[in-house]
């Protein structure tokens, strides 16, 4: 990279206001400009580092755009078949109950092909964290309709818009898992603005803390964008998301655990 003239003198420890998490590798992320995955990867790496659990955490990557997350965060990983991440996580956590186990999955992976694994892992109350990126489209395969694609929304397999009478309705799977006794903490967040990034990071931190307390499944949906799949600029995509996705998938906690004496996780 070309050195910008005169910056060297400012790169000093006392001027440091922000640094890259040591868990983020130097691999160049393959994500499209404006995509929410890279931000989510960053805050996930930060939480793992800040909580001091790097030596005890195992991540399960999905099939989808984030299949290569294992190249970007420097922890132990297993790469699951499409939709099966919660099954892997179930066994890993049962066999290594002292470790922290999380899955990172997209909407096609978690809410279409992996619906059974999602529902049943949550229903068994597996002590795992499920991070669910919902951008209403299949990004990696080129923009096909997802289970969470909005009514009327265009995709390469709903070129005239999703017709709910023939293609079904968008699945609010987060609302479903919130009804299951096995889940302990269910929340819907986003990473499209600084305040939302901070809230999502806090949610991830809380989820790992609940996992330590064996409180059940933690489930964090992150409503996100797909500028390439939606055929928009990043700015347009975020605006469209606010105007169309958030009314259908409103942000906020769907379920928070009842407080137990002495086991409430510390907040920031």
């Amino acid at each position: 990279m070309k050195e910008v003239t005169g910056t060297k003198e400012y790169i000093k420890p006392e001027n440091l206001v922000y640094r890259k998490s040591s868990l983020l590798t130097d691999d160049i992320m393959h994500y499209c400009p404006g995509c929410g995955h890279s931000t989510t990867h960053r805050i996930l790496a930060e939480v793992i580092e800040e909580e001091g659990i790097v030596h005890d955490v195992i991540g399960i990557s999905p099939v989808g755009c984030s299949v290569f997350i294992y190249n970007y965060i420097d922890i132990d990983w297993q790469e699951a078949a499409h939709g099966r991440a919660p099954a892997l996580a179930t066994a890993i956590k049962r066999l290594l109950p002292d470790k922290y186990v999380f899955t990172y999955q997209g909407d096609g992976d978690l809410a279409a092909i992996g619906t059974a694994e999602t529902i049943h892992s949550c229903n068994r109350g597996e002590n795992i964290l499920i991070i669910f990126i919902n951008n209403g489209i299949y990004g990696m395969t080129g923009g096909q309709m997802a289970p969470t694609t909005l009514p009327g929304m265009k995709s390469s397999t709903s070129p005239y818009g999703r017709d709910v009478s023939t293609m079904g309705n968008p699945l609010k799977i987060t609302d479903i898992v919130a009804t299951l006794p096995g889940t302990c903490y269910v929340t819907r967040q986003s990473v499209h603005s600084p305040v939302n990034v901070r809230r999502t990071k806090k949610a991830i931190r809380k989820a790992f803390q609940y996992q330590k307390l064996n409180r059940g499944t933690c489930f964090i949906e992150i409503v996100s964008n797909c500028p390439s799949g939606w055929k928009m600029t990043p700015v347009q995509a975020n605006k469209w998301m606010e105007e169309n996705m958030f009314p259908y998938y409103p942000l906020g906690d769907l379920k928070v655990p009842e407080e137990k004496q002495g086991d409430q996780p510390k907040t920031e």
Binding site: E79, A87, L95, H120
Partner: protein, 356 residues
């Protein structure tokens, strides 16, 4: 626990042998004719004795992916099912083979295709020995012919799976799973505390992160990986062939059969010899690797080979490949859950001799 003699069903023997082999985890879904395995494990409740995890999954798809996750942690994990369930597991099995993980899968075969029957069959031979799922891979396949071997092959299957970092399968059938015989059970082994260097258990400071995956987008690197697998399968072919011969020394007519069919054929050899026909039996114990070399050696001094299977003719193709045209190879099979009788086998052999 000492070595112990018991009267057990084949399925129960698998379950008890798994506990005694020091297995870390069992993940399964009920299906006839092998549900006794998970029932036995749930009742034995090894989680309080050895710490073995036993979990009933929501489907065979989930069960095999739990096995995948557990195997990735370097644990001794297994699943069992019967034909339709094993079909559902093929996705997970190819991922496990592609990620080079050890595990044990037991198929107590029933007749198909489709929902088929719940009676014994050997119609999953191709699926077991040729790969089964997508991509180029092999399982190590063991074929028990008794309740004793159902128990013994659990330990052997785990041993081979870890030796080669490859999934192993016990290819049994509904007859061996359901029948009761006396069985010597091994003493209790302790669960291993060893963590393989490739296992994902949380990255300690002194090693690089471990990644369990079967994904490689670069064709050159993927081909290099495929070649590595081929080399491993060739080593297995070289070192791990197991077989049993019965009256083959002077045999002119060689029966080739495994599992339940091999038990029938042993009696058929006796009956044939009473009638003056010099028959012998070769029983492959490993179906992959197949005892091709030994069959080729025998084909120098036999007049004919007859593959007897409870299928439309699957293993017979491997016998033909082994014999390589030296002598005629025929097939005799019953299907749909029917076990052939020794008399039928002898009759068929005699017809072939006259016809040939």
């Amino acid at each position: 626990m000492e070595r112990e003699l018991r009267l057990m069903k084949g399925n129960e023997a698998v379950a008890e042998a798994a506990i005694r082999a020091g297995a870390d985890g069992y993940f399964g879904y009920p299906i006839t004719p092998q549900s006794e395995i998970i029932e036995y494990l749930m009742e034995a409740n090894p989680c309080v004795t050895t710490g073995m995890v036993v979990l009933q999954a929501e489907s065979e798809v989930a069960a095999i992916n739990m096995v995948y996750g557990g195997a990735g942690c370097g644990k001794k994990v297994m699943t069992t099912s019967s034909s339709p369930g094993i079909s559902l597991m093929q996705e997970g099995i190819t991922y496990i083979a592609g990620a080079e993980l050890p595990c044990l899968i037991v198929n107590v075969v029933r007749g198909g295709p489709g929902l088929g029957t719940i009676q014994p069959a050997q119609s999953d031979y191709f699926q077991a020995v040729k790969g089964g799922g997508h991509g180029d891979y092999h399982l190590i396949v063991l074929a028990p012919a008794s309740v004793q071997e159902m128990a013994d092959f659990v330990g052997l299957g785990f041993e081979l799976a870890f030796k080669y970092r490859n999934p192993a399968m016990i290819l049994s059938d509904g007859a061996i799973g359901q029948m009761m015989e006396k069985v010597w059970l091994s003493p209790q082994k302790e669960r291993s505390k060893k963590v393989p260097e490739w296992a994902t258990t949380g990255k300690p400071e002194n090693r690089k992160r471990n990644i369990i995956t079967s994904l490689e987008l670069d064709p050159d690197r993927q081909e290099a990986f495929n070649q590595k697998l081929v080399a491993k399968y060739n080593e297995i072919r070289e070192k791990e062939v197991r077989l049993e011969e019965y009256q083959c020394e002077d045999a002119e007519y060689l029966l080739v059969a495994y599992g339940t069919s091999a038990r029938v054929c042993q009696k058929a050899v006796q009956l044939a010899r009473e009638q003056g026909i010099k028959a012998g039996l070769l029983r492959p114990i490993t179906l992959f690797p197949f005892p091709s070399k030994r069959i080729l050696e025998l084909s120098d001094r036999i007049k004919m080979a007859l593959a007897v299977e409870m299928s439309a003719g699957q293993m017979v193709e491997d016998v033909m490949l082994a014999v390589n045209g030296k002598v005629p190879v025929y097939h005799y099979g019953r299907m749909g859950g029917i076990v052939p009788t020794p008399d039928e086998v002898v009759e068929n052999l005699k017809e072939r001799i006259i016809g040939g």
